[in-house]
Symmetry: C2
Subunit: 227 residues, 2 copies
DNA sequence: CTGACATCAAATGGATCCAATGCTCAAGAC
DNA sequence: GTCTTGAGCATTGGATCCATTTGATGTCAG
C-alpha cells in the first residue's frame, strides 16, 4: 500500500475518519490520555493533518465504543468512571462474559486454545504492567473470538474499553504480590475450555471477574486524581 | 402521533442534529422504517430542512443507541437482527435488567410505584398493539429510572431499542390470547417492587424476559420478510 | 472588597462545495 | 448466451468557511 510515513496505519478501508479513530483509540487504551481529559477537535485535526470533520466522526465512533463521552456544545472527554460505575461495569461483565464465552467456546479451534496457553505463559513470564494489560486483553478477547453476535460482542468490548485505565492503575497498585491468583484462574479457565465444559468455564470466568471487582472495591485510591 | 405538519418541533435543545436524531428515533421505534431499510442522508436532510452533515451526526448517535448500523461508503440501515441475535439480546436482557432494577428499586418513590400500577391498568384496558408497546416500554423503563449508571442504563436502552420492531411483530402474531400471562407477571413484579424485595423482583423480571424469549423462538416467521 | 453584568476569545455546530468510492447498466468478447 | 469490463451515475466522505454557543476576564456598582 501507500507508504505511510507518519502513521503505521493500514489503509484497508482507506477512510480518513478511521485513521483518526485508530489513533485516538490507541492513545486512550495505552493510557496516553487520562480519563476526563478533554479532547479538542482542532488540536487532533491539526496533529493528524486532517480536517475537524473526520475528528468529530471519530469521536462519535469512540463514544459508541465506550471510550469517550460527548456533551453538546461542550466538547469531548475521555470516558471517566466513578467507583460506583466501575463496580457496576464489573457486575455487567460477570453476567455477560460467561454468555459470550458460551457462544464462542464450541467454535474455538485447537490451535486457538493452544495459543491461549502460549499467551498465559507470556503473562507469567513478564512482570511489566503494560505487558500484562496487553496480554490479558488478548487472552480474554481470544476466548470470545467466535462470539460474532454483534450486540453481545460489542457490549463486551465497550466494557473492556471503558475500564482499561482503571485496570492499569489497579495493577500498578497491587504490584505482583497476588499475581499467582490470576495465573491460577487463567489456567483453570484454559483447562475448562480444553474440556469444552461451558458450565465450568463460565463459573471460573465469573469468579475471575468477581474477585477482581471485590479487590478493586478495596482500592478507592484508584480514583483519587480524578476531578 | 407523528401527524400534523412535517416537524413542528422548535429548537427545544437548540441543536439541529438533535432534531434529526429525535425524528429518526421516533420513526424507527414507531415502525415507520423497517429493519434493513436504507436511510439516505440527502433524503432525510431535504425532508427535515437541514444539511446532510447533522444527518450524519444523528445516524452516528442512533448507531450508538442500537437503532441503526453504518457501513463505510455504503450508508446507513435500520438495525436488523437475525433469530440467533434476537435470542442473545434477550439473554443479555435477562442478565442485565435485574441488575438495573436492583440499582433503581431502592430509590423508587411511592408515587412512581403508584404510577406503575396505573400503567399496568392501562395495558390491561387496551387491546391495541401500539398502545401495548408504548405502555410496556414506559412500564419497564420507569422501574429502571433511578439506575443512573450510564454504562448499564445505556446498554439496557440499546437492547430495548434494537428489539422494538420484533416485539411489535411478535405481539401482532400471538394476538391477545396469552396476554393474561404478561399481566400476571407485571402485577407480581409490581408487588415485589412495593415490598422492596430486590430478589423477588429480579426473579420475576428474569422470568418475564425469559418466557418471552422462549415464546419468540417458537415464531421464526417473525423474520420472514427480512432480506 | 465582593458580586453581577457585559464584552471578548475560543471552541463547537452547521452549510456549501468538491473529491472519492461503490453500484448499475450496457456493450463487447469468448 | 453468458461472463466480463468499462463508463456513467448516485451516494457517501472530506475540506473550508461562517454562525452560535460557552467560558473567562475585566469592570462597575453596591
Amino acid at each position: 500500500m501507500s507508504g505511510g510515513a507518519v502513521e503505521p496505519i493500514d489503509a484497508d478501508t482507506g477512510a480518513a475518519s478511521q485513521r483518526v479513530a485508530v489513533h485516538l483509540r490507541r492513545a486512550i487504551l495505552d493510557g496516553l490520555l487520562a480519563p476526563g481529559q478533554r479532547i479538542r477537535q482542532e488540536e487532533v485535526a491539526e496533529q493528524l493533518g486532517a480536517s475537524r470533520l473526520p475528528v468529530r466522526e471519530a469521536l462519535r465512533m469512540l463514544e459508541s465504543e465506550g471510550l469517550t463521552e460527548l456533551e453538546p456544545n461542550k466538547g469531548a472527554r475521555v470516558i471517566r468512571l466513578g467507583a460506583r460505575e466501575l463496580d457496576i461495569v464489573y457486575q455487567m461483565r460477570e453476567r455477560l462474559e460467561p454468555l459470550a464465552l458460551g457462544e464462542s467456546m464450541p467454535a474455538l479451534t485447537d490451535s486457538e486454545i493452544e495459543r491461549l496457553a502460549v499467551i498465559e505463559h507470556r503473562i507469567e513470564a513478564s512482570a511489566d504492567v503494560e505487558d500484562f494489560l496487553r496480554l490479558d486483553r488478548e487472552f480474554h478477547l481470544l476466548t470470545y473470538r467466535h462470539c460474532t453476535t454483534e450486540p453481545l460482542a460489542g457490549t463486551v468490548i465497550r466494557l473492556w474499553n471503558s475500564t482499561q485505565h482503571y485496570r492499569r492503575v489497579f495493577m500498578g497498585v497491587i504490584g505482583s504480590a497476588q499475581r499467582w491468583i490470576v495465573h491460577a484462574e487463567h489456567n483453570l479457565l484454559i483447562d475448562a475450555v480444553q474440556r469444552r465444559d461451558t458450565v465450568d468455564a463460565g463459573r471460573y470466568l465469573e469468579g475471575h471477574i468477581r474477585r477482581t471487582r471485590v479487590e478493586l472495591s478495596r482500592h478507592p485510591e484508584i480514583f483519587e486524581d480524578q476531578g
